[in-house]
């Protein structure tokens, strides 16, 4: 049996060391992680120390400073990018039944996937929309803090052994055909067809700031990103999402996330409790 990843961790960061690191990131890179969930921050930085073989955060700061891509490198290692296609199939089912079916009569549909990581979520949306014969009139924007993930998303290329685990969720989500229809296999890679991305664009963006695109989105999907934020930051980020939505637009969050920390929660009505889908009134 493989050794647990954690049992290999020799160097550990204490709560006070974490503060040193956060001050550094704030001053050097104007990257404020003070409102990220602390336990997860410590976990990620501990992981980084061990990966780079450094025993203290001060050394990690020096190391990052010595590199021209220090900020980029830090973000790559720090962010949790684990994602899947059709994560929580019931979410996609509810989107189809309760959201897309409402939006379909519109001339065009604008969608923002915030914190889209390597793009599996966007591809899932594209497939759903394609099967509803709506993809051609959608514009989908994918954003993430980690630009390396956006490059991966753009490539539409995933490991076949991962893709094979998405077959069932695709069907549970209401998929009408077989997932094979949407990719070709090259060795160990599955490359998804380009037509799926015809109306998709990607942009690097930090959710702690406003998007700077025209507001009026019909649907914003922001899943499994808010869990990494303290409730104060969750509140601020949801306020930006709220601003970017048009009245009547929809917001879909991760299955354990909600708008309860948002001061403007009464701008929304709950459309699907289990799938955390809300509609802006």
């Amino acid at each position: 049996m493989a050794l647990s990843q954690s049992s290999l961790e020799k160097h550990y960061i204490s709560i006070s060391q974490k503060e040193v690191m956060l001050d550094f990131l704030d001053q050097e890179y104007q990257l404020s992680l003070k409102e990220y969930s602390e336990a997860s921050v410590r976990r990620r930085i501990t992981k980084m120390l061990n990966e780079f073989g450094l025993d203290r955060v001060e050394k990690l700061c020096e190391f990052l400073q010595s590199r021209s891509d220090g900020k980029q490198l830090f973000i790559e290692k720090f962010t949790v990018n684990v994602t899947e296609m059709f994560r929580d199939p019931h979410f996609y089912k509810a989107l189809e039944d309760k959201v897309i079916s409402v939006l379909k009569s519109r001339e065009n549909i604008r969608i923002w996937a915030a914190g889209c990581s390597s793009g599996e979520e966007i591809l899932s949306l594209c497939i759903l929309l394609y099967e509803m014969d709506l993809l051609h009139k959608c514009h989908i924007l994918g954003t993430d803090l980690n630009s390396k993930m956006l490059d991966e998303a753009n490539n539409r290329t995933y490991k076949t052994r991962h893709v094979s685990t998405y077959m069932k969720p695709y069907l549970y989500a209401g998929g009408r055909y077989g997932l094979e229809k949407y990719f070709t296999t090259h060795g160990e890679n599955a490359i998804f067809h380009a037509f799926l991305h015809e109306n998709v664009s990607f942009k690097e963006h930090n959710l702690m700031e406003p998007l700077g695109e025209e507001p009026g989105f019909d649907l914003i999907v922001c899943r499994n990103v808010l869990i990494y934020f303290k409730s104060t930051l969750q509140n601020r980020v949801i306020a930006y999402l709220d601003k970017a939505l048009r009245a009547g637009g929809f917001l879909g969050l991760g299955s354990k996330e909600s708008i309860i920390f948002y001061h403007g929660k009464n701008h929304f009505k709950e459309i699907d409790l289990e799938s955390k889908i809300y509609q802006k009134i």
């Binding site: 954690s6 049992s7 410590r42 976990r43 990494y228």
Partner: protein
């Protein structure tokens, strides 16, 4: 703060422990049990049948309260914040598991130090051993189910390898131990 970690055979073992705890049991308990992905299980109600102490799923950024027994949700790692609230993460599986017992034990040990109590029960892998060591190193109390009593003894044995000084108790003795906290 008590963290109980278990896997194969865990439901049965937990039911025995819960049946033995006092109704006014008042220390927060977090249960991390491996479960199948994408299977909707009714863990709370199954366990609730064994005790009148309220059992609920741990929610994102929920403040941990006395008098509650929390269960880690399926498919997320469960971490404890410095202010005593929960937070969730979907990062990589650890020991093939999410939730991972190690992750919750480590974060409990960092926040609660000598006030953290880690308990490892029956299970078929090594998850929890590293976390129990972290509880021990931070001055907390460590307990392992008697391996000869465990339905699957791998997890207790791995935990004892990591923390040889952990108390070895039967399930009934674990209830007793909790009642006396």
């Amino acid at each position: 703060m008590v963290v109980i970690g278990t896997s194969a055979g865990g439901i049965h073992a937990l039911k025995i422990i819960l049946e033995g705890i006092n109704r006014d049991f008042n220390i927060p308990v977090v249960i991390v049990i491996h479960r199948l992905k994408n299977v909707k299980s009714h863990m709370e109600s199954v366990l609730q049948a064994s005790t009148s102490v309220p059992i609920k799923e741990a929610e994102e950024k929920e403040k941990i309260q006395r008098g509650n027994i929390y269960i880690a949700p399926a498919n997320y790692h469960l971490l404890i914040e410095e202010d005593g609230s929960f937070s969730l993460s979907v990062d990589e599986l650890v020991n093939f598991s999410r939730p991972s017992i190690d992750i919750t034990l480590v974060s409990a040990s960092e926040v609660y130090k000598e006030k953290a109590i880690g308990i490892i029960l029956t299970g078929a892998n090594a998850d929890g051993a590293y976390g129990l060591q972290s509880i021990h190193e931070n001055g907390g109390v460590t307990v392992v189910q008697l391996p000869e009593e465990a339905q699957v003894n791998t997890m207790p044995l791995e935990a004892l390898k990591a923390v040889p000084g952990a108390q070895k108790l039967s399930l009934r003795a674990i209830s007793q131990f909790l009642n006396e906290l």
